[in-house]
Structure formats: C-alpha cells, structure tokens
Amino acid sequence: MSKGGGFQRLPVIVTIIFSLMLMVVPLPDWATPYRPDWVALTLIYWAMMMPRTWSVGSAWIIGMVLDVAQGTILGQHALALCFIVFVTVRFHLLMRVFPMQQLAATIFAILALYQFLLFWINGVAGVNVPAVGYWGPVLTGTLIWPFVLIVLRGVRLRVHLGQ
C-alpha cells in the first residue's frame, strides 16, 4: 500500500496547495461570498479515493494552514475539515458508487455541514458575521463539484494512483 508513497503523494500535495491558492486569490467584492470551498472539495475527493493516505490527520494540518491564511481562530477550519473528512472516509465506498445526482446531494450535505460548523464556532467565539453569506459557498461548491471531480480524476489517473 505504501509502495512509492513519496512519489504518489506529491501530485496530491500539489492539488491541495493549488486549492489553498484559490482560497486566497482576490475576487471582486460581490463574488467573495460565493467563493467555493476549494480546499474542502479537494480534500473530500482525496478522502473518498484514497482514505488510507488522506484522512483526518492531513485534513487537520491543512485546516490549520487555512486558519492562518484566513486569519480565523486557530483550529476552526481544522476542526471543520477534520470532521467532514471523517464523514467522507466513513462513507467513501458508498460515495464512490453513487450516481452523479446522488453524489452531488451528498456533497451539498457535507458542505452544508462544513459551513454550519464554521458558523457555529464563530457564534460561540462571538465573531460577528452575516449569517446569510454562509450559504453561498455551499451552493457554488456543489455546482463546481463535477469539474473538481473531472480535474482531480485526471490527476489521479495520470499518475496511476487508481486503487
């Protein structure tokens, strides 16, 4: 399983770094609330396809990086990402065989859970945010999911990561 682990990990790491870059690229003001959660989508895909290598631990570390990049409370994204990756890993076999619509519905639910966790932590910490803006990324994330799927599948097949 861990044969050539270093080689196999590199392309995945590159996609994750790319998703982090997409999270900080400046967008026009009207578009900012609709920025899809690139990191969450990428991690969901890799957790679904390679749950042994990309599981809760890596999600937690990447969540910490995201916390620093976005200036949120340290541990907020780490907790939320860790939890949704846990859910994904739990159901990864089911999700792999889901037809497209059903998978999209699942992704919608997972992204909603993710946003809810972030929203809830903000609420507990007393950070003042508009509640409505939170559901934009869930919608755009679900819409953009098929493209993320195609791109990441391309990456996976190109480097023969298929299991």
Partner: protein, 291 residues
C-alpha cells in the same frame, strides 16, 4: 498475512478512525480556547505563517507583474502629464509643510510653557497591501510587513488621506490588518471642530461608519471632520478618520443616528503607511473587541 486478509475482506475499515477524529477535534477545541481567550499561540501562528507566505507571494505575483507592465508601457504623454501633476502636488505639499514646521516649533514652545510631555513625532514606514484575500466575512487585509520589520499587534495603519485600520496579527514577513469598516472594529475619535469625543464603528460597508454614542443635543453636523483622539492608546492622535455624512436626531431616542464616510479610500489603496506611535504606550495597545 493476517493484515492483508483483513484488508481484502473489509477494505472499508480504516483503523482507529473514530478515535483519531475525536482526538483531533478535542485538540482543535483546546487550540481555539487558547487562541481566543489568551493569545498564547502567536509562535504557532508564526510558524504556520512561514509556510503560508510562499502561497501568498505566488498569488500576489501576477498582480504585481501586471502593475509593473502597466508602468512599463504607459506612454510618454501620460507620463509627462503625471509628472507635471506630481510636481504641482509637491509644490503645494512643500508649502504646507513649511507652515507645519513653524507650527510644530510653536506647538513645542507652547508645550514647554505648559510643561506638558513633549510629543515626539511618529515614525512612519510605507508598506504594500498584498493582493490576497483574507477572511471573506471580515474586512481584513494582508500587508507585506511583519514582526521582522518591527510591526506589532494593534499598530495603526494610515494612507495619504486618513486612517485605514490596525494590525491584528503579525507574522514574520506579513501581517493581517483589520479595516476600520469591519463590523467588529471601533476606534475613539473626536470632532476636529470642537473636540467632541466619541466612538466610530465599522458597519461592514467600505464607505460608511457609524457613531453610535452621540447624544441628541451634541454639537455635530454633516461635514465635520473626525480625527483620532488617541485615547484608546492604539491610534496616535490627530489623524483624519472620516467626514460626518448624515446626522439624524430622533427625539425619543437617547442617541442620534450619525453616519460618516471614511477619509481613506479603504477598497482602493495599495500603498499604506504603518505608524510607530512614539507618544503612545506600545505595551498598552488594545485588541479590537470581538464582541
């Protein structure tokens, strides 16, 4: 052997997943408590920030390149026009500066007479806003100066027209700053005309601040310039913050409804200035309230 059999019979099983996720979540909660209540984790943040820095630089690079190219290809007429404009501006500024020097000397003399503590001039350094979006739900910016250059939490940031915000987190080479328009940001101001002290809070819109604690009978009117009063300790006094736009006195309410337009163009600036307030107590600067 046993291992491989277990794997093939039940590939869905990931060992100890539940325990791991519980541990990690407990750790996150612990981190959040430590980070939110006492700022114990600055070193951790700084370490991770060093890893984030290359990402920010790569994202920022195309914007910088675009700007640089734009400067390279702007034509001669345009440059000449800008040159003459800048020269005129310089002349004006110089003229004003001459008066300022005289006024400063006079001020120092008067302060001497009053035996007040001498007000040392603030030290200023130019920084740039990086083309990187921080938290989408707050008005935060990332600037290219960090603790290595001496930036500190709570430090005031201004541009040529007025106050922009303050630093809330310093990394080694970059810092996050909160704009005065953020809904959780407030700063002590005074009306330049008569010295009326009050608080200006952000609203979440770039072009609007509110003054929630102005009494109905207070002497304030549209067009009044608000400057920092220096009372909070974080901002040095005397920098323009905003211009009062509307004053709506409601007879039943204790406070009037006052809005103001920030003096600085919060969403347009790229070059900003950091102030090392020598007169204010650096140790005593306050965190922006999160409530």
């Amino acid at each position: 052997m046993v291992n491989s059999r277990a794997n093939s019979s039940n590939p869905a099983r990931i060992p100890a997943l539940g325990i791991r996720v519980l541990l990690l979540m407990a750790m996150s909660i612990l981190l959040m408590v430590l980070d939110h209540r006492q700022n114990h984790l600055d070193a951790v943040r700084r370490a991770i920030g060093a890893a984030v820095y290359p990402i920010q630089v790569v994202v920022d690079a195309p914007f910088r390149l675009w700007e640089w190219l734009g400067e390279g290809v702007s034509d001669r007429d345009e440059l000449q026009l800008e040159l003459s404009r800048l020269q005129a501006e310089r002349l004006l500024t110089h003229a004003r500066l001459q008066r300022l020097t005289a006024l400063e000397a006079e001020n120092a003399r008067l302060r001497d007479l009053l035996e007040a503590r001498a007000q040392v001039r603030d030290e200023i350094r130019v920084a740039e806003i990086m083309a990187v979006d921080a938290n989408p739900y707050r008005h935060n910016i990332v600037i290219d100066i960090g603790s290595r250059e001496g930036a500190y939490d709570g430090q005031a940031i201004v541009d040529a027209a007025g106050v922009i915000g303050q630093i809330i987190e310093t990394g080694l080479t970059t810092s996050q700053a909160m704009l005065i328009s953020d809904p959780s940001h407030s700063l002590p101001v005074e009306v330049n005309r008569n010295g009326l002290r009050t608080i200006a809070s952000g609203t979440g819109e770039f072009g609007r601040l509110v003054l929630p604690f102005v009494t109905n009978n207070a002497d304030i009117q549209p067009g009044d310039l608000l400057v920092t009063s220096g009372l909070g300790g974080a901002f040095p006094s005397g920098y323009p913050v905003a211009v009062v736009e509307t004053v709506n006195r409601i007879p039943q309410e204790p406070f009037a409804d006052v809005t103001a337009v920030p003096a600085a163009a919060l969403e347009q600036v790229r070059e900003i200035m950091l102030i090392w307030g020598s007169s204010s107590d650096v140790e005593n600067n306050e965190e922006p309230s999160d409530e």
